[in-house]
Symmetry: C2
Subunit: 394 residues, 2 copies
């Protein structure tokens, strides 16, 4: 699903290897935004949010003109020193771009609990700033990766009265994925003309149906952040096309979210869990996440084993009121497992196994008669998930 990124007029980018990671991969990225660009953002709800998240939230109201992103070190759990270091990195970039320190939004991803080595930023930032270009976003898409195997990019366009509006988004993330109001790092750019408040509304709506609906392991990161920057260079005002813009933005965020799941640590399956009929959307989501986070369901998915009793056991322990067995239907890729709480008489092990062999799995769960429906997307649990996370720091 990754695709060539559209160039967005008004942004210039670059990435380099500043040796923040222990390898030769790109790890320090800068994105410069044209004057007048408006930026909205959503951030992790983790109480232990990282120093760059605290600083980026503060700077968001100061008309940001640059994004500074490092991978390899999350600058999380680093206390007061971590905050000072983040502000210092903003100051270094601000000096290079002749803007104010408060106009830099900082982002970090990587190992938690280690202080940044500022010397790498002092050397790296002038170097990467000297090579910013309008085609550099694909380098940034590489530069923000950690355990990810592939870059995650998506672009969309639509036309309004003969003028083209473009959106280009990038994302990173493959573990510690259960975003809450935001995702792992994702940066989205558009040339539409909009106020920060309009962008913020669109971004909340888009992330709520995409990054906030995916889970690899149920662990919400300390560093989740997603921004949407609009340069206005298309000459199109959002008030003339708010529906089209929201739809295109939703397409970008949903595609990026699904790319994150497909690149989930050790993932061999792409699983949608669709729950309908609850008395509230929250009830639907609670059931969906309970199934999505069940290690027993996830290991059965890895084994392609149609052990549907584990799905049923997970639904049955979901923390919602008034769940009644006789209301429950469960289907696996349209093969009926449970009908009104009873085993589906048409089910056979052969029919179930045939579906479980597939890479793409949809589990449909109906828990009542309302029209509400919510989906979450997740992966299986494999040997490689354990391996990647047991060996991450070694």
């Amino acid at each position: 699903m990754s695709q060539a990124l559209l160039k967005i007029k008004g942004i210039a980018c670059g990435a380099m290897n500043a040796h923040i990671k222990n390898n030769d991969a790109l790890d320090l990225s800068v994105i410069s935004l044209a004057k007048g660009t408006k930026t909205a953002g959503v951030f992790t709800q983790n109480v232990f949010c990282a120093a760059p998240v605290l600083v980026a939230k503060n700077h968001l109201q100061q008309a940001p003109l640059a994004l500074l992103i490092n991978s390899g070190n999350a600058n999380a759990g680093t206390g007061a020193q971590g905050l000072k270091n983040t502000v210092k990195t903003c100051e270094i970039l601000a000096n290079e771009l002749s803007i104010k320190t408060e106009q830099v939004l900082p982002f970090s991803t990587g190992v938690i609990g280690q202080q940044l080595d500022l010397s790498k930023f002092e050397v790296g930032i002038p170097s990467v700033t000297a090579q910013l270009s309008d085609g550099g976003l694909s380098d940034v898409a590489q530069g923000i990766l950690t355990t990810d195997l592939v870059e995650k990019t998506h672009s969309a366009t639509f036309k309004v009265a003969g003028k083209t509006v473009s959106i280009a988004g990038i994302a990173k993330g493959s573990g510690m994925i259960r975003p809450d109001m935001a995702t792992m790092l994702s940066f989205i750019f558009t040339d539409i003309k909009a106020t920060q408040s309009q962008l913020q509304t669109c971004l909340y709506s888009a992330t709520n149906q995409s990054f906030n609906r995916i889970t690899v392991d149920g662990d919400t990161s300390t560093n989740d952040a997603c921004t949407l920057s609009a340069t206005g260079a298309s000459g199109v005002d959002i008030v003339d096309c708010d529906d089209e813009f929201q739809q295109a933005l939703n397409e970008v965020t949903k595609s990026l979210a699904h790319q994150i799941i497909k690149d989930g640590e050790g993932a061999t399956k792409f699983v949608e869990i669709r729950v309908k009929g609850g008395v509230s959307s929250q009830d639907c989501l609670e059931v969906a996440y309970t199934v999505a986070h069940s290690p027993l369901v996830k290991t059965a998915l890895f084994a392609s084993d149609a052990n549907w009793g584990r799905i049923l056991a997970a639904v049955g322990r979901a923390n919602i009121k008034n769940l009644s067995i006789s209301d429950i239907d469960i289907d696996l890729n349209s093969v009926g497992l449970i009908r009104a709480g009873e085993p589906d008489p048409t089910y056979t092990e052969a029919r179930g196994s045939e579906q479980m062999q597939k890479t793409d799995i949809v589990i449909d769960i109906s828990i009542g008669s309302s029209n509400l429906q919510e989906s979450v997307w997740t992966t299986d649990f494999s040997y490689d998930y354990v391996k990647i996370n047991a060996e991450y720091r070694t």
Copy 2:
């Protein structure tokens, strides 16, 4: 911790291989209770509770005189037919023992979603009933196992006015472990004299601090059940020693619960997560379970990697109100990680790693100034957890 079981006067037991499992292990157990025995029980809160759980709950009020337990098939997710089959197995045993069908409590554990093969019970029950003995409880401790590697048993005694009261308990469980008001299967026997209501109160209190505080994978089973049967044969009335009895019962249930965790699927570590200072016990437990269920914490434990950032990230995403970073202290086996939300200045990687190499790990988390404290016990997440659960049905 497993130990020789005390014989409890008034109970007779036996177990056999009835070929319900696909191997030669014991899988069908019968426990006969002397007339006048009182029995209390707690059961899974999973909405999809298994047929035997529904039947046992009904029969509990009929002065039960026998327990019937099979392993290898959970008789869960089996609908109306599953219920009929369970009642039929009770009827077979009742005929053998010349008691009423309603006086048999049935229990099942094993694969979910398959109907019982009644012919195995028709052949097996008369055979096992013919060989009941007062020393048979250790055979039953074997007969109730599934993926467990070891039997789980614990006995306790205390004296009242020269008379000895004995308690003997057995349990099974190593996966799908997050009991809710009960545990996996556990059966406890005593010769104290007590009413059902007195026993029920004691059992709730004991399970709440033992079986309800352990978690392997966060998955609450469909079949969890724990019973406490009192024959009265000691001649000691519980009203003369309620504190001593509760304390001895707590010792038995806590030991059995810890044995389940130590035998957790693929477990290489025994981990206590102790949270204090919350505004409610519920808040302490929410933080403890969030850490206990974090796959990233569990894989770091498996790797003996002092990646404490993952503990901090899990605490930070716990779903409680008013968690304030500056109130948080975290210690790993008494090595300080976080003090008032800041990195502990005395921490070194060497000190952390030394503790993480150990098999027994205690993670202390302080989230405020109250005197409340709650512990949960859990395991790490290993390759073998994935292997055992990916290959369970093959």
